[in-house]
Symmetry: C2
Subunit: 312 residues, 2 copies
């Protein structure tokens, strides 16, 4: 899966992942209305609206990007109907040839992480068959519980040829409260970066590891340091666009080969139709606006990498 993802990034010349993080405020009226008419003003109706909206976005951008990243919280907020929409979204994206990164940020003690790994990356054995639950291709995981909270994910990754992205330095303003604290003279996130590099050595694809890292676009200097600490980790970079990150800030996250990072944008793409800049597409053509936003993001990152002598 990591090899296919790296190959798709190169082929599509797009180190970009589209964050499928729907909110009702982003869903065009015609979709919301149809879903509510069919399913009522219920959790089912809202979930169906999310799913149809996602399909429209995916149809518009699937040829441009290698991957999508649905944020499970957006679906979980709608309870069971939301989780059904999450699963349908994962299946729809995979059928469109996209790699699906489930942004689930799970992590617990060993036996519990094992269950999460089973639900999101692997399958359960029942009656001699292996039955799969959500079955994403990659997921994000939280390292606060240490290595015995991470290893069960690695075990399933090895069996299924899937991958994880470990939270190292997150994009939010308060991420430093714990992550930047100095331990033996170096910030916590560097220590976590070293753990990621060590775990990654045990689970290598061709050039990059099945164990990647999350480092926020909003902290480019830390990105440069972490890039060196984890040379073989694919870095998933949230925080571009709506959270403030720009193409020029991203160069640090890439290796000399122009690879090594994949940048997420959610709102900036899926809600592009609401921006002044893309208003000409109109509400009905929200997909066209999303496509234009992806092309602009591709250009922004591509020219920043070219200027730094690191073309994709």
């Amino acid at each position: 899966m990591i090899n296919r993802l790296m190959e798709d990034i190169r082929k599509k010349q797009a180190p970009i992942v589209v964050g499928l993080d729907p909110m009702l405020a982003y869903v065009p009226e015609q979709i919301e209305k149809a879903a509510f008419e069919e399913f009522g003003e219920t959790l089912e109706g809202a979930a169906e609206a999310f799913y149809r909206f996602n399909c429209g976005i995916v149809d518009a951008v699937a040829d441009l990007v290698p991957a999508v990243k649905p944020q499970v919280a957006m679906y979980e907020q709608l309870g069971i109907p939301g989780m059904i929409a999450f699963e349908k979204t994962v299946r729809y994206c995979q059928a469109a040839g996209l790699t699906v990164i489930g942004d689930v940020k799970r992590g617990d003690i060993g036996s519990t992480s094992e269950a999460y790994a089973t639900g999101h990356l692997g399958g359960v054995e029942i009656g001699g068959k292996k039955l799969y639950g959500f079955n994403e291709d990659f997921i994000t995981v939280n390292p606060y519980l240490g290595s015995d909270g991470i290893r069960p994910f690695m075990k399933v990754c090895k069996e299924e040829k899937k991958g994880i992205f470990v939270l190292v330095k997150t994009s939010n303003p308060s991420s430093g409260e714990l992550q930047d604290r100095l331990i033996d003279g170096r910030p916590l996130y560097e220590h976590v970066g070293e753990m990621v590099a060590a775990w990654g050595e045990e689970l290598m694809g061709d050039a990059y590891s099945y164990v990647g890292a999350v480092v926020g676009a909003t902290y480019p200097e830390m990105g440069a340091v972490l890039r060196k600490i984890m040379p073989k980790a694919l870095i998933l970079v949230p925080g571009y666009g709506a959270q403030g990150g720009k193409g020029a800030d991203l160069v640090n996250f890439f290796n000399e080969d122009g690879l090594g990072a994949i940048v997420n944008s959610s709102r900036g793409i899926i809600a592009a139709w609401k921006q002044e800049k893309y208003a000409s597409f109109g509400e009905a053509d929200f997909g066209g606006a999303a496509r234009a936003a992806v092309l602009e993001m591709k250009e922004d990152i591509g020219s920043a990498l070219a200027a730094a002598g690191r073309p994709v």
Copy 2:
């Protein structure tokens, strides 16, 4: 909710929470067989077996304990059918008068934590109505992203009079890899404990706060320190029984009033029927075995507290 929980702990003389963490290996054959006959050897069948097993446990112990703690990972591993069993379990327990602590360990950047808080503790506004998803009474949350990952949960807790338990020092063997690292001469978990105490001051019930903490029974000395740092936090203590914690280790987690902690046991109770000690109950009376295990746990903790001069 925190006041009711503290009152129920006192009334039932049981600072005990039963971990509803089903695995097929714990489900008696008669339940598994019936569920598989009805729903096939499928995820639906396994999920139904979990649900019926939980109901049997709850029926057997509901009068003895104030709360249950379903670990969502066990359900998530079965995909959508598992999540339906999780939700049905939450409803069944609430109908039985139990406080439900969803062990979900969620946590993300602000807008995403908001969605998790909505899904697990609050509701979404659709068509002027507030619609609830999983709707637990408390949940566990992960602090790695700092305060803007926690505050959205606190906001919903305030609106809904519900609560959170923040991971401070977890019960697993590798928890120290990050949590014990020294920052300004003190371990990370103490710093997190101070954050919990500060957040907790903002959201007080009568004597205890809506913001509690998770501290593992397997680290009793750290429990003593954290008890002092967070005097008004209810401490959720996992790691009793199967993970190695004993009654005498737990005294440190309680305040002088004999309150302030609630101890979880999962396997030790729900799979009691598989232990030599409770073999006389037989597989069919797994509920009787669970009840006996709860009574023994109550006696173990109660006598340890009495010996320390801190009766519940």
